[in-house]
Symmetry: C2
Subunit: 180 residues, 2 copies
DNA sequence: ATCCCATGTGTACGAGCGTACACAACGGCG
DNA sequence: CGCCGTTGTGTACGCTCGTACACATGGGAT
């Protein structure tokens, strides 16, 4: 019999959900699969998250925080003399390096907002957060365009299986940034 | 009892699959739901498409052809004096106008390639087709960047529920196109 | 000390799913 | 004409799913 009133229970379930989505995709996400992965009874997942949407919201939010931390560490408010386009291109390269599981996981949750209105606010938050990270380096319109272009470039790589071309990314990202 | 050896049977099933995805999303796609929508017996869908992946490949390919036709009609090889960025921005606006069901449908099938390798070649074909449509107006690198940026802009609008801003799209698309 | 409710657990139900498979009907071919 | 493979159909099996619900438990409020 497990300990009661476990404050980590919720977190355990979210972590398990992220692992499940990473391994089997959203299609493989269910109360039962998460319960098995987290090694908790079925009733526990349904108690903390009435619907799978709620669980996905929590998972997406947590995944976002992870990426935001990476971005802050690498592309944060450092000096403005470095080439922003090159930095972002390198950031994408580092993210895609090795296996693409992590990137696929985050994009799958992110893109799930297309059909699940509950996820849209979280997806919007993510974009806003990145824009804010870039706000010290460029204007808001450019920042938003950079986010859009990065999304598109990453999707081209992920959806078609094409290898990531960092030089190409640096080139076209640079075009979006106003000269000066 | 339905007529046998119906050459339209396959097409009927694909059309029904597209309607089902448009209404309920990929999550609602099953052999049974398609069979009901197409008004054919269950065995008929499983006979023509052993797996749902096969059915999605056919549906995505058919949806692609529809968009390619629209693009060819509007953004085809017309004279190069018109503003390409403005044309593409207007094209996206027209596509999003009214209800977004059609766009959501195509993007959902397109994005499904993230987790379904069977769809990747079709997704790649789509990108290549658009690049080719643009080949008369600009260089290949720019064309690919425009496709990426359009994907990103459309996704921003679809995922966050933000209204589409055509002036913004025209602005940033124009930045990607080399002066001259 | 007692009560109460948030938290946690186990089990069962009905629905929908992919799959398999036996059978029916057509049409080309020998 | 008669055979046979392609195409089409009906049904049933076993599985997983969300959901519901009754019950257990323990800590905080009274």
């Amino acid at each position: 019999m497990a300990r009661r009133h476990d404050p980590e229970r919720r977190r355990r379930i979210i972590d398990a959900a992220i692992r499940v989505v990473g391994r089997s995709g959203i299609a493989g996400l269910s109360h039962r699969s998460v319960a098995a992965e987290a090694d908790v009874p079925l009733g526990s997942t349904t108690y903390h998250f009435k619907t799978l949407d709620e669980l996905m919201v929590a998972a997406l939010r947590q995944a976002n925080e992870g990426f935001a931390a990476v971005l802050a560490a690498r592309g944060g408010p450092q000096d403005a003399r470095t080439d922003l386009a090159a930095e972002l291109a390198a950031l994408m390269g580092a993210w895609l390096a090795g296996d693409r599981t992590g990137v696929e996981l985050e994009y799958e949750l992110y893109l799930a907002a297309l059909r699940r209105p509950a996820l849209r606010p979280v997806a919007a938050e993510w974009g806003d957060a990145v824009v804010e990270q870039l706000s010290g380096r460029t204007d808001p319109v450019t920042a938003r365009a950079l986010v859009a272009l990065m999304d598109g470039i990453l999707l081209q790589a992920l959806l078609t299986g094409t290898p990531y071309d960092e030089a190409y990314a640096r080139d076209v990202l640079g075009r979006v940034i106003p000269a000066g």
